[in-house]
């Protein structure tokens, strides 16, 4: 029982990270109908920026100001990742606006190759270990079979995710930017006719996705402490799977899908052979899509003839 609850907590933490990346996929998909394959690599870029910024700031301030440093690192990571996201959109996706839909998919794959190799060359191919920075936590239960511990790390990740998700939902539902986004999602031409700067809105969508991916990268670094230039691939695919599982284009769906994927993965690793955890995740995706072809919360496409 204790083991089960501990796995549940771990799963929710991992799921939060997937969910944050998945939002980036689902938003971009919702607005321009494109799979942004480079998004996982933006997450990787984010974790590298976080690592370097963390080392830089601790060498400047010393280890005494850890909370301040962490908050600063988070902000710096988001800002620099936003610059990356914006540049990628500008170079690879904006010129193909209105082109046929496979073209940006291919440029996204190209950008993904570029980013991976750029980081590999500039930072080296070896994994970068960062010792755990935040230790300790609260012991929730103590039973015969084990201990359930809710570490500060888990709390920070889950709390950050909840805060970001709330802020984000408010942004989409209450602000004029959110309205513009939803308008572009429904009908880009009509939105442009009504005075919405469609290109700017789409750019901002990418930028927001990049910022969330940066947060995910930061938390991934703190939680798992090991990053390399290749982490973006698997995390990206998992997050994309999460977005599709939840119903691509739906924000709550992305979060739900992320949590589900995180839970499936953690529970499978806890009770079954760990090597097959990806097979389990993908098989559940396939089976679920056979019965719910538009995901959990996705709206079935209405076809007009």
């Amino acid at each position: 029982m204790e083991y089960f609850i501990q796995q549940l907590i771990n799963g929710l933490t991992l799921g939060s990270i997937y969910g944050l990346i998945a939002i980036g996929y689902t938003m971009v998909y919702g607005i321009i109908g494109m799979i942004n394959f480079a998004h996982g690599d933006v997450f990787m870029i984010g974790s590298f920026i976080a690592l370097t910024a963390f080392l830089l700031l601790t060498s400047l301030f010393g280890p005494a100001f850890l909370p301040v440093v962490l908050v600063l690192v988070l902000i710096i990571t988001m800002l620099f990742c936003v610059a990356w996201g914006w540049s990628i959109e500008k170079i690879a996706y904006r010129p193909l606006r209105g082109s046929f839909r496979l073209a940006p998919l291919i440029t996204a794959i190209g950008i993904s190759i570029v980013l991976q190799n750029f980081v590999q060359i500039s930072q080296g191919a070896r994994v970068k270990p960062l010792p755990p920075q935040i230790q300790g936590g609260v012991t929730l239960m103590e039973g015969a079979t084990g201990v359930v511990q809710l570490s500060w790390m888990h709390m920070i990740i889950i709390a950050t995710t909840v805060v970001l998700m709330t802020g984000f939902s408010l942004l989409i539902s209450r602000t004029s930017l959110g309205r513009a986004q939803r308008a572009c999602e429904q009908d880009r031409k009509m939105a442009a006719l009504l005075g919405i700067d469609v290109d700017r809105t789409i750019s901002l969508t990418f930028v927001m996705g990049a910022a969330l991916a940066a947060v995910a990268g930061f938390m991934f670094l703190l939680r798992y402490g090991v990053i390399d230039f290749y982490i973006g691939f698997l995390a990206g695919i998992k997050a994309f799977t999460a977005a599709v599982l939840g119903g691509i284009g739906s924000l709550p769906g992305a979060m739900l899908g992320g949590l589900l994927i995180g839970l499936i993965e953690t529970f499978w690793s806890g009770y079954f052979p760990i090597e097959y955890k990806d097979v389990a995740t993908f098989s559940i995706l396939v089976v679920l899509l056979i019965f719910l072809p538009s995901g959990l919360l996705g709206k079935p496409e209405v076809e007009k003839v």
Partner: protein
């Protein structure tokens, strides 16, 4: 890398630059912005580096390198503004990215054993300059007025002679190589074999994506099934031999195509894409972990080589060279392999071209254009999709079997998602549904990436610089650049299978991309 003025340029800037006038203040501001962005992007990646030291990480600084990169971007951007103005903003973006990368290329080599920083910066500048020159030429060429109709038909008229010439070239290529490049024959024939393997894979995937319009991101799964089927069949049952194992591997892969195609029948668009991707990953992970069956990460070695009517390509009695009274040479086997893959690729192309004339091929293309209309006309979409998946998978499997026998070794590492992505990129870069496009794209991309392995002469001029490690970056950037310049691929015209009055080629824009896109 520029202001947001692509779409709606500000009045002063638009007026000055679009008329071709060069205004220093505008250009300087533009270049400064590009340089600032390069500084931001490079800050944590070029300016600093984390290294493992002891049991922790240390940070080292490379501010000089960052400064050089920013300077190169600034000067490069200024040069571009002077040359291009704002008339081709998209090109300018790409070029600046190219310059940025080239700047890094010169500066940031991991083991700076020799070569001072300015020297390496100079290499970067030279490389960047070369890229600029080439792309500038392309940009100028693209500014020509669009080809007139007459030219389009002229292109179409030359299609057949060019095709025949290419077939003849392909048939005689090994002998041309052995005659004219005797020193590097092995290397070039190997490269030709590699390119042909990708041509065949591209043609196989073209059936699924280009003709039936189903976006398949996991094509490598069938390549893997073919390779492993062949490797297992020929190592466990040595009496089967290459020529019986090859079709068996193709059939097994085709069956897997049907099996995996079945659950995805109801899915549309990107749901289909992710499920095929998931299948690709599942097969790879299973191959990696089912050690009893596949030998896991160690792979299967000792896959037998093909024989020529029972003759082995070995030295001594009973070998190929001995039988025909030739002097033994290892190159014979490579030439033989070349002809096998050439025959397989031609088979793929021939079957595809013939199928396009049969009802099933017409049904594929109809499915790509409009699935609902297909159903309304009584086409069985289930069978249509399944045959596309199955036949595409079969050719992927044949290519996989060939891969296994050529390498003599298979392991799960060869079948990653990146492989699927490269095959898909070849199909899309060539022009979806265009057979000729696949050939061009495979030659350019695969040949290009292999050629980039041999640019090490730069390192000889400037010691300490190893440009070879930048080839994947160049590969990725080339994918982006080609897609932006030619969103419909290298071949932008298509020949419809069914015509009303006269047979003529049409623009690729008129061809639908199917539901997966």
């Amino acid at each position: 890398m520029a202001t947001a003025s692509n779409i709606r340029p500000g009045p002063t800037r638009a007026a000055s630059l679009e008329q071709g006038a060069f205004v220093w203040s505008v250009a300087l501001a533009d270049a400064a912005k590009a340089a600032a962005l390069a500084g931001i992007l490079g800050f944590f990646f070029i300016g600093m580096k984390t290294d493992i030291a002891g049991d922790g990480l240390v940070l080292s600084y490379r501010w000089a390198a960052l400064g050089h990169a920013v300077l190169i971007v600034f000067l490069g951007r200024l040069l571009l503004d002077a040359l291009l103005g704002k008339a081709a903003p998209v090109t300018t973006q790409m070029l600046t990215a190219g310059i940025f990368i080239a700047g890094i290329a010169g500066i940031m080599t991991q083991d700076a054993t020799g070569g001072s920083l300015p020297a390496r910066a100079l290499v970067g500048a030279v490389l960047g300059g070369l890229i600029v020159a080439v792309l500038y030429g392309v940009a100028l060429w693209r500014r020509r007025p669009a080809p007139a109709r007459a030219e389009a038909t002229r292109q179409a008229r030359f299609a057949i002679p060019i095709g025949i010439a290419l077939v003849l070239l392909a048939l005689t290529l090994p002998f041309l190589i052995t005659t004219f490049l005797p020193g590097q024959q092995r290397q070039f024939i190997d490269l030709a074999i590699l390119i042909l393997t990708y041509v065949m894979l591209g043609w196989g995937l073209n059936i699924v994506v280009g003709l039936a319009g189903l976006l398949d991101l996991g094509y490598v799964a069938f390549y893997a099934v073919g390779a492993y089927s062949f490797a297992l069949l020929s190592t466990c049952f040595p009496f089967i031999g290459f020529w019986s194992a090859l079709p068996l591997a193709g059939m097994l892969a085709g069956m897997w195509g049907l099996v995996l195609g079945f659950p995805v029948l109801r899915l549309r668009g990107d749901y289909l894409a992710i499920v095929t991707l998931a299948f690709g990953e599942i097969i790879r992970v299973v191959l990696l972990n089912w050690v009893d069956f596949t030998n896991g990460p160690n792979g299967i070695s000792g896959v037998p080589k093909p024989t020529f009517f029972g003759l082995e390509f070995s030295r001594g009695e009973g070998g190929f060279a001995d039988f025909f009274g030739l002097e033994f040479s290892t190159i014979h086997r490579f030439i033989y392999l070349y002809y096998i893959i050439l025959a397989l690729a031609f088979l793929t192309n021939f079957v595809t071209l013939r199928l396009r004339k049969l009802p099933i091929g017409r049904a594929w293309e109809a499915l790509r254009e409009d699935e609902i209309a297909c159903r309304a006309l009584g086409i069985n979409t289930t069978n249509t999709k399944l045959t596309a998946f199955g036949i595409g998978a079969m050719f992927g499997g044949l290519a996989g079997a060939f891969f296994a026998t050529r390498q003599g070794f298979v392991s799960p590492e060869s079948f990653t998602f990146m492989e699927s992505a490269i095959i898909l990129a070849i199909v899309v870069l060539g022009g979806l549904g265009s057979q000729m496009g696949v050939v061009i794209a495979a030659t350019v991309m695969i040949g290009g990436i292999e050629m980039l392995r041999h640019i090490s002469f730069v390192g000889q001029i400037f010691p300490g610089v190893d440009p070879v490690q930048y080839r994947m970056i160049i590969f990725g950037l080339a994918m982006v650049a080609i897609m932006i310049w030619k969103p419909r691929g290298f071949i932008s015209r298509r020949n419809p299978s069914a015509v009303l009055k006269e047979r003529k080629s049409i623009g690729a824009d008129l061809v639908s991309q199917g539901e997966g896109h």
